[in-house]
Amino acid sequence: MSDPMAEIKASFFVECEELLESLQDGLQVIYDESDDEETINVVFRAVHSIKGGAGAFGLDTLVSFAHKFETTLDEVRSGRLKAEGNVLKLFFTCGDMLGDLVREARDDETHDEARLEPVVNDLEKLIGTDEVTGEQTNIEFEVTALSLDLDIGTPEDAGLGSDPAWRVSFTPSSLLYANGNEPQFLFRALRDLGEIEVTCETPDLPHLAELDPEHGHMSWVISLKTNEAKDAIREAFEFVEDLCQLDIAQSQDQPPGLGNLPPADHSGTDEPMATMGGDADLPAPPDEITSDTDATSDEVHPSPASGSDVPTADARPDPQDLEPASAPPPPIPSDPSAPNARRGQNNATPKATVRVDLDRIDRLVNLVGEIVINQAMLSQSVEAVGIPPNSPVRTGLEEFQQLTRDIQESVMMIRAQPVKSLFQRMSRIVRESSADIKKDVRLRTEGENTEVDKTVIERLADPLTHMIRNAVDHGLESNAERETLGKSREGNVYLSALHRSGRVVIEVRDDGAGINREKVLAKAIEKGLIPPESQLSDGEIDNLLFLPGFSTADEVSNLSGRGVGMDVVRSSIQALGGRVSIHSEPGEGTTFSISLPLTLAVLDGMVVRVEDETLVIPLNAIFETLAVSSDDLRTFGPSTHVINIRDTFVPLIDLGTELGYRSPLGDYTGGVVLLIGQEDGLSAAVIVDSIEDQRQVVIKGLQDSYGRVPGIAAATILGDGQIALILDPADLIAQASGRTKPYSAVDPCNHPSDGTTLEVREW
C-alpha cells in the first residue's frame, strides 16, 4: 500500500481543516458573544495542534506563523490581552492566513511572504519583540524537526578497554518511583552507552517491618566505560534529574572487575557503599539487576516473585514480569476480568470514521442508480406479463423496491455535508471585502449544519461568493450613509440555509438600501436590454439583474466587478438544478434566495407524455394537477390563453409547443394541466397530454455529454430503457413564448419561429 507517513500527512491536512473550522467557530463566538475561557482554549488548541502537526512534517513557515499566533492567543488566555476590536480582527485575519498556509503546504505551493509580513508584524506588536526573541530559539528547535528533548546516545561499541571510565552515583528519591520511573531501565540506558557495572548500597535501609515499598531506600553506584561525553550520561537521567541525587564523575581508568568497587576517593562522593550480593530479604534482587545490565547479556531474566504476583501472567507482556518486586508494586489490573478486557481494545480507538476516496462513493452512487433503474425495469416487465398484484413475486418486488430506496438514501447520506465550511469561507469574504472598501459589515449565519450534497456545496462556492460580495459592495450603504439614515453603522449580511420540502434553500440577505430600480431600469434601457418604453413591475425590474450583459459599470468596484454578472450566478445555480430569485424592499435591503436539490443524483418526478415524447417534471415544482374544462380557458391575446384557477388567471403554456414537438393546438379542452410554482411566486399552467406515473428517477447529466438544453435540467433512464428528459420548469417558464394558438399564416410546424427560438448556449 501507500506510504503510511504520506497517509498521515494527508490526514493531517484533513484534520487541519477541522481545526481551522473550530478556530473560526471559536473566533465567531468570541465576536458574537463573549471571550469565555473555554472558547479561547478551543481557539488556542486549534492553532496549537496545527503547529504540532506541522512541526512533525517540517512545515517551517506554518510552524513559525502558528507559533506567533499561538503566543498571542496565550496572552489572551492569561488575561494580559483582550480579544476584542482590532485584536479580534487580527485574529480573524491570522485564522485566514493560517488556513492559506495550511493549504499552501498541502498543495506544495509557495506562499506570498509579502502578504504574511504585515500580519506577522501586527502579531509581534501585540506580543512584543522580547517575547518573540525569547521564543525564537524554541521555534528553531522545533522546526529542526524530529528531535527529542531527551537525547539518548546511540549505543557505542561496548567493552573497549580504552574508553574512559565514569562513576555515577545515584540515589533516587521516593518521588522517582511515584512518577513511574524504574532504576533498572535507567541502568539499561546507561548500558547502551558502554560497559557498566552496577552496585547497590543500602545504608538507609530500614528494618523489614518498617519497609515502605513506596519509598526508595537504596543508592546505586554505576561504573561506566564509555567514550560518550558526560552530557550523554546525564541525558539518561533526563527524566529523573530532579528526583534523585545524581553525581557523575570521571573515574581513574582501571577496568573494574566483577564485584570490584571503584575506589571511594575517586568517586567524588563521600558516601560509603557496599556491594550488594543476592539477598532475598531485599525488595529488589540486585543480582537480577546486575545480570540484566550486563552488557554481554540481552536476555531478560524474569523475576519469579513478581511473575506470580500478577494474576494475569499470560496476558501480561514480558516487561511486567521483569519488574522487580521492589518499591513500585506491580500494577494490579483494575478489573478481575482483565484478560477479557483486551477484547475491548477496538472500542478504545477514537471515533470510528473512515476516509474514503470520493470516486469510490460516486461509483457506489452510480451503481445504486443502476439498481434503481433495473428494479424499475423489472417491475415493469413483471407487470407486463400479467402477474397479479398480490402474488409473492409482486410483493417481493415491492419489498425490493423499498430496500433499494433505503440503500439509495443511505448512499446519498455519505455525500451529504453541512454547509458550515461554505459559510465559513463566506465569512472570510465578508471580512476581506468589507475591509477593502472600509465598510463595517457583520455576517450573521444561520442553519450552518444543514446538510447538502458535497458537490452542490463545492459548486455553490463561486456563485455565493459573488452574491456575498455584491451584498457588501452594492447592497449595503456606506457607514456614514447608514448613520444618516438612522441605521446601525455596521451593515448586516445574513446567510442562512434550511431544508424545505426536499430542497435546500439558501438565502443571502442584506439590510442595505434595496435595489435602486430607477437606476437599474435606466441601465437596462441604455444597454438595449429592454425597449425604452418598457413598463415593468418591481419584480421584473429586480430580475433584470439576472440578464446577461447587465453590468452596472459605474458601480463596478474592485470587488464584485470581476467580469462576472448575476447572469453567471444564475446559470451556475441552474446547472445545479437550482433556482435563484430576488426580492428587494427599498431602504430595507435585498434578499437572494437559492433553492437547490439536496442531491444531484435522484429526483422525485412526475412522468408525463406530450406528443409521443415522455418527460419527467420535478415533483416539487408542481403545485397541483387538473383536467382542463373549456369553462376555465380564456383567450388572452391573439396567440395566448390564460386559465382560471379559483379566480386567478394563470398563463397557459403548451409543453409540446415550447419544446418544439408540435405547433399550438388552439383547443386544449380535455388536456391535463400542471400548475407550476416558483420561488418568486410566478407560476404557469403547463399543459401535457397525459400523466403516466410518479416516481423517483436517477438523474443523468446532459451537460457533459451534450451541453445545456433550454428548459431541460437533465435526463433519466426509464423502466423501458428509454431516455426521458427532465424538465427545468423555472427555465422553461422563464423562456416560454406562451403561444397556445395556431400560427395564422404558414404553419412552420416543428419550428416555433415566433421569435422565441431558444438558442442552444452550449453544444
Binding site: G707, P710, I723, T757, V760, E762
Partner: protein, 159 residues
C-alpha cells in the same frame, strides 16, 4: 460483416493507420479506428428540444446518455435514404462520446500516410471543414472525417 483488408506487412509499418470506413449519404468516409468505441444498431432516440437538425437526440448506452448525430444531415449530404441509416458508430473525441448515425459500416482499411492527400480547398463547400484528408481505394474516393470539426464545440450555437 467487416473484413480486414490489410496485408500484414503493411500494418507493421508505423506510417500505416487503420480506419473504419462507412457509407453516409451514398458517400465513402472513414475515421481513425482508435477513435471508434463500438458499432451498434439504431435505437429510438429521445428528441432534444431546440437542438440543431443534425442532432437526432439521445439514447441509452448502458446507462449513459449518448447523443446521436445524423451524420448525413451534419455533412449536408443526401438524406433520402433515411430508412437505411440505422447503424451507429460510437466515437470518442477527447473526453466526449458521441454516436454517429450512418448508412452502413463498410470495412477496415489500412492506409499509409503517404497515400493520404490533403483535401482541395473549395470554399463553396462547407463540408471542406469536416474532411482532413482523401485517399483512393479500389477506385473509390474515401474521405477521412475530421471528428473534432464534426462535433461542434461546446459553445457553438445552433446552426
Amino acid at each position: 460483416m467487416v473484413t480486414a483488408h490489410t496485408s500484414n506487412d503493411k500494418t507493421r509499418d508505423s506510417n500505416v493507420h487503420e480506419y473504419l470506413s462507412f457509407l453516409v449519404g451514398g458517400q465513402d468516409y472513414c475515421v481513425d479506428i482508435m477513435q471508434v468505441r463500438e458499432i451498434r444498431g439504431g435505437a429510438k432516440a429521445t428528441t432534444l428540444p431546440h437542438s440543431p437538425d443534425y442532432m437526432r437526440g439521445v439514447i441509452n448506452l448502458r446507462g449513459t446518455v449518448l447523443p446521436i448525430m445524423d451524420l448525413a444531415s451534419r455533412l449536408a449530404l443526401d438524406t433520402e435514404t433515411d430508412g437505411d441509416r440505422n447503424v451507429i458508430i460510437v466515437v470518442a473525441i477527447s473526453d466526449r462520446i458521441v454516436g454517429l448515425m450512418v448508412d452502413a459500416v463498410s470495412d477496415i482499411l489500412a492506409i499509409a500516410e503517404d497515400d493520404l492527400q490533403p483535401p482541395p480547398d473549395l470554399p463553396a463547400d462547407q463540408q471542406r471543414n469536416f474532411v482532413s484528408a482523401l485517399t483512393i481505394m479500389e477506385n473509390r474516393m474515401i474521405r477521412v472525417l475530421d471528428l473534432t470539426a464534426v462535433l461542434p464545440s461546446q459553445d457553438e450555437e445552433a446552426a
